[in-house]
Symmetry: C2
DNA sequence: TCAAAAGTGTTATCCTTACACCCATGT
DNA sequence: ACATGGGTGTAAGGATAACACTTTTGA
């Protein structure tokens, strides 16, 4: 039974998780001083939702949008009990424009929102000093033994003691765990009992959750699809490419294996030029193979999981 | 700038791709004689979209819904130019109820809609006899050499000549390719020039595309998450499990390796009982380990890719 | 000369795939 | 006896991960 009207007025908005990597840090476009993600009303003027989002973002940022992918549709009831809002969220990949003044928003460091996700310099102190103790006591105070065991399992799987077991893709699950445990500010706004407030910026509505969804999807995607290149300048060195991947994955990678695996996949080609002026030996410059971009829909790409050092 | 109202009346509906596997064939719940997927109006009475869908489906089918996952949100403009409809689609996994009369719909064989996706008995004749010739001539009649080359690439990647290169996950891409080439009936309804009409049932609106999205997601998911068990009875033999996976994947699997890989992952445990009465040696019965179900959110599972025979 | 980064070569290990074979039951 | 499905062992191959080492530049 399609076409039935819904009872009260229904509104829909598009929410964008727009990501770039600049200077070794993953960034996300925000508005209102970093408190919300860019969002706009949904209008049916375009062929598809995707086309609509692309046009809207490009008009806002004056910058071409490389890759776009739908993330999730949320029905957020608790902003305004009367008005029903559907939020259709998208992940978009770009490069941060040189003229930072263009557009209305500001690019923020993703790890400002999720400080516990950056393991590039080893396990963050925050995890051992605050998160694990808090989560442990949260787990122990569960009402039933079954719930207690379940909580312990979740904590151990998402914040493992052994650094080698860290799974960087679980960004959303970890945020939701910290939310449930009353460790992020948004939990208090929803009426949950707060245990403590971890460092890390919060956002309005459920935007930090949407950001976590996008970040998680991106971390998963770079492992099997050649989407990193949407974040790279036209020409780049292998080290630059590795640093972008590391910035996203939030951990260091083994240099030699990274290079080998990238090169043997034939996704990139040498431009013939080299870097100059920097310290160290000059590096060859590469570009993404344009013919691969065509078959992008099905082309795979692998990234080495080997850790550095 | 959130909260802005959209111009005309906006409606939203939930669309469900409800899947079960019965008697070696994957099935999907449909209404109106198999022409549409079950769909209902969206109402904000529940905590979340997911909870709403679950309650609605269970009230319709009188059957518990195991696993639910959001698929995609479509903005379908061409049904009724005035009314704007958002379709939020979900994938749900169940078991087909024994009393087939319960509920309003009918369970259809998924391969009735996508006959080219069933490779369990080797490459379907349909592919070599109709699809490949039609797609080839479609590719050759492109306007520019670049477009021609791109089309050839897509055809080769999605319907490879070498059976070993067949990628069962590309259900959606293949449907969209056949759509573009004017080989499925829905293309004609949208005004595209038809080249021929392949065997395979069509659906109203874009429901066959939604079904393809769900089928593709399911084929991808069973490889790394233990969701197959949502489709199994409480107790099952390893052969039954393999046949369910084969029904979904659309191809045969190597028996010995399948068994080994499943058993070594410790996702299942013996019940102690055995089958009786059937031909051949009695088989041990297994059940899904309930403690794994708890950690399902992060638990992985692997399926062997090795082909049979 | 040293630090920093680019590169090359080789080896160990694990997982997947493939192949060969034996066991238990009903007709 | 034989067909059917259950069940075990082991070897080959490829991909990943780990380690050691050389080369080229700027300060």
């Amino acid at each position: 039974m399609p076409h039935l009207p819904t009872t009260p007025a229904l509104h829909a908005e598009l929410v964008a998780v727009l990501t770039a990597v600049t200077g070794g840090t993953p960034r996300v476009l925000t508005t209102q001083g970093g408190e919300v993600l860019p969002a706009g009303p949904f209008q049916m003027v375009h062929r598809s939702l995707q086309a609509g989002l692309r046009a809207w973002v490009e008009s806002q940022t004056h910058h071409a949008l490389g890759y776009v992918e739908q993330l999730y549709t949320f029905a957020d009831r608790d902003r305004d009990e009367a008005a029903h809002v559907l939020s259709i969220s998208y992940l978009g990949l770009t490069r941060e424009p040189a003229d930072a003044a263009a557009g209305t928003g500001a690019w923020q460091d993703c790890y400002a929102y999720f400080p516990w996700e950056d393991w590039r310099a080893g396990r963050p102190e925050l995890v051992a000093q605050q998160i694990l103790p808090q989560l442990s006591s949260w787990a122990e105070e569960a009402d039933t033994p079954a719930e207690r065991s379940l909580r312990r399992q979740r904590v151990a799987a998402q914040f493992p003691l052994d650094e080698a077991l860290w799974n960087e893709e679980l960004v959303l699950q970890r945020y939701e765990l910290l939310f449930e445990a009353g460790l992020v500010a948004e939990a208090g706004h929803r009426g949950l009992p707060m245990r403590a407030t971890l460092p890390g910026r919060s956002m309005l509505h459920d935007h930090r959750r949407i950001l976590a969804t996008g970040f998680a999807r991106l971390r998963a995607k770079i492992k099997y699809r050649p989407v990193v290149f949407e974040l790279m300048p036209p020409e780049f060195t292998l080290l630059q490419l590795q640093q972008v991947v590391e910035a996203l994955a939030g951990r260091g990678l083994h240099k030699q294996n990274f290079r080998r695996l990238i090169e043997q996949q034939a996704l990139i080609e040498e431009t013939g030029a080299q870097t100059a002026g920097s310290t160290g030996r000059p590096a060859k410059l590469f570009r993404f193979r344009s013919d691969v971009r065509l078959e992008r829909a099905t082309a795979g790409s692998k990234l080495p999981l080997a850790r550095s050092a």
